[in-house]
């Protein structure tokens, strides 16, 4: 199984201890990230999708108590059990930014405002590999070209504030990819962007993955984005995995009532489906505790957010 999977998550449970009691963020989550594939984790706020990706990066706060296992099977080296690495283990450093790297939601704050773009991207190379400054700089230039920047040499001498949101997100993707990570985690990378920019970034992520043949874990709340970018889909709700499968299967023939409910909630769902099927989907959602009952579930989630 390790031949095809880059990461396998087994029975991952994460609890946050607070003074007001403990809150379960993930309950017995298990799924695999296959090699050479974009896996999207989709869910609403409080579903635990970001906790999952942060667990892979070991970015959870100290108040988190984890059980279960996350195993990374890098190419050409021994498997690493991420959950059992000690905080000072050198493998953790090679993991973050080396084997696995991350693109965050906010393109405004992820770049240092006082350093040139080129320096920041080259810095990412120098952090993980022993190459000369010139080599790092030229590597940075070719990476920035790959993410679709033009006039790269000139742009590398500019500062982040001179860039638009979309260009910044391209730079961040370049920084994430420059050490050839085997897994790229994108945590809502397009949520803060305008729709036209979002489309460009989605196309970029998809084409880069096809070119680099790496694995991508794509976290989003938007089923439209999922349909356009993912090969596989993991549907999460309230800290649990409800459904895992191929993108076409999940979106065209969803099995779990919650997935049906999400699809029916999509704006414009009416035009694509008949009125009856929307009714059916809503009914399916209601069977799960949708409709007004969902508002109560939402209430519980909100309190958890608040406590966290």
């Amino acid at each position: 199984m390790s031949a095809n999977n880059l990461v396998s998550i087994n029975n991952l449970t994460v609890e946050f201890k607070t003074e007001l009691g403990s809150v379960t963020a993930l309950k017995d989550v298990s799924f695999d990230l296959p090699r050479n594939c974009i896996t999207a984790v989709v869910g609403e706020s409080g579903s635990g999708k970001s906790v999952t990706s942060n667990s892979i990066m070991r970015l959870l706060p100290d108040s988190a108590q984890t059980s279960g296992e996350i195993i990374l099977y890098p190419q050409k080296s021994e498997p690493i059990s991420i959950t059992s690495l000690a905080e000072k283990d050198p493998r953790l450093r090679s993991l973050r930014g080396g084997l696995v790297s991350m693109v965050f939601q906010e393109p405004m704050t992820a770049l240092s405002p006082v350093h040139r773009i080129g320096d920041q991207v080259a810095e990412a190379v120098l952090c993980h590999r022993e190459v000369s400054k010139e080599a790092a700089w030229s590597e940075a230039a070719s990476m920035l070209e790959q993410v679709g920047l033009t006039d790269v040499q000139q742009k590398m001498r500019m500062y982040p504030f001179e860039f638009s949101g979309g260009m910044r997100q391209r730079v961040i993707i370049a920084m994430a990819l420059i050490c050839h990570p085997q897994l790229l985690i994108c945590d809502e990378p397009t949520t803060a962007l305008d729709v036209t920019i979002q489309a460009e970034i989605l196309v970029l992520i998809k084409s880069l993955q096809q070119k680099l043949q790496n694995s991508v874990l794509f976290i989003t709340h938007d089923l439209g984005v999922v349909a356009q970018v993912a090969d596989r889909v993991v549907v999460m709700y309230d800290g649990q995995v409800l459904e895992v499968g191929d993108v076409k299967q999940i979106l065209k023939n969803p099995q779990h009532p919650y997935t049906c409910h999400l699809l029916a909630s999509m704006p414009g769902a009416e035009r694509r489906t008949t009125k009856e099927s929307k009714q059916k989907n809503w009914a399916a959602g209601a069977a799960l505790g949708g409709g007004t009952a969902l508002a109560t579930a939402e209430d519980g989630r909100q309190v958890r957010e608040f406590v966290r």
Binding site: T196, D222, A227, A264, E298
Partner: protein, 273 residues
């Protein structure tokens, strides 16, 4: 159909930056006008100046209220007060738009107190009615906003906007901060309230899918200008302006077979007239 609102040549600039450039449109009663555009297109400035939360540089906003046609920007604060009952707003951020130090009862009652309507018992009853209308539990009245989820807070915001029985409601990105299943519930609620109360909505949004589902007419804004306006289906099915085409091509479809293929900006004519 009666016209409710008529905006003519509205302009607003901050410093030397032109945010809203000569915008004109009309809104019919009991209809929904969507205003779409990307960040920085001036849509929020536009609606805030319609509400007189911002004073525009030039142009007129005329409103056909109980007292007949009036230019909102020519009214004194005192003359404006009765119109405040007729024009209300639902905000984007369900966290920031409710005073965290007031109970839901106080928040919902405040508009009634300001307009000196009814006595204490009547106001209390009215708050209960409104809570029921937005499908919240009556016990919510005694709680503070922090006790509610985003969707529930948005319902409180809607109740506050509707408690004065307005005719025109401005929704400024009112559902964009919500989860998709909550969003569809809130949209359904707004629709139901519209047909029940005959409301007119000015619906500002950046999500074209929501606009297409929710609005009758649409106004496409691009860097302060209206580049296209018309009935929703017409604009979405046969867009006239290249910018509208670009926007539409960028919508990610939830059908994996409909591949996303955004138009290339370089090949488009995005010049403004």
């Amino acid at each position: 159909m009666t016209q409710l609102l008529s905006v003519k040549n509205l302009c607003k600039s901050f410093g030397d930056q032109l945010i809203v450039n000569s915008v004109s449109f009309d809104v019919n009663e009991s209809s929904t006008l969507g205003i779409v555009g990307e960040s920085g297109s001036g849509k929020t400035t536009l609606v805030r100046s319609i509400l007189r939360a911002i004073d525009p540089d030039s142009g007129s906003v005329r409103y056909n209220g109980e007292a007949g046609w009036q230019n909102l920007h020519e009214l004194s604060a005192k003359e404006l007060l009765p119109l405040r009952r007729e024009v209300q707003m639902i905000f984007q951020d369900p966290f920031a738009s409710l005073n965290p130090r007031m109970t839901v009862q106080t928040i919902l009652e405040e508009p009634l107190v300001i307009h000196d309507l009814g006595d204490k018992a009547w106001r209390k009853q009215r708050v209960m009615e409104m809570l029921e209308k937005v499908q919240l539990d009556p016990s919510s009245a005694a709680r503070f906003p922090h006790a509610f989820s985003g969707g529930q807070r948005q319902r409180i915001g809607i109740a506050r906007a509707l408690i004065l029985e307005p005719r025109l409601v401005v929704c400024d990105e009112s559902v964009s901060a919500l989860d998709v299943s909550v969003q569809s519930q809130i949209l359904d609620l707004l629709k139901a309230l519209q047909s029940e109360l005959g409301l007119t909505y000015l619906f500002v949004a950046h999500d074209l899918r929501v606009v297409r589902e929710f609005c009758d007419e649409v106004l496409v804004m691009y860097s302060g200008n209206v580049v296209e306006q018309g009935p929703v289906e017409e604009v979405f099915n046969s867009p006239d302006h290249d910018y509208t085409r670009l926007l539409l091509s960028a919508i990610p479809s939830p059908d994996p077979d409909e591949k996303l293929d955004p138009l290339d900006r370089a090949t488009l004519n995005l010049q403004l007239a």
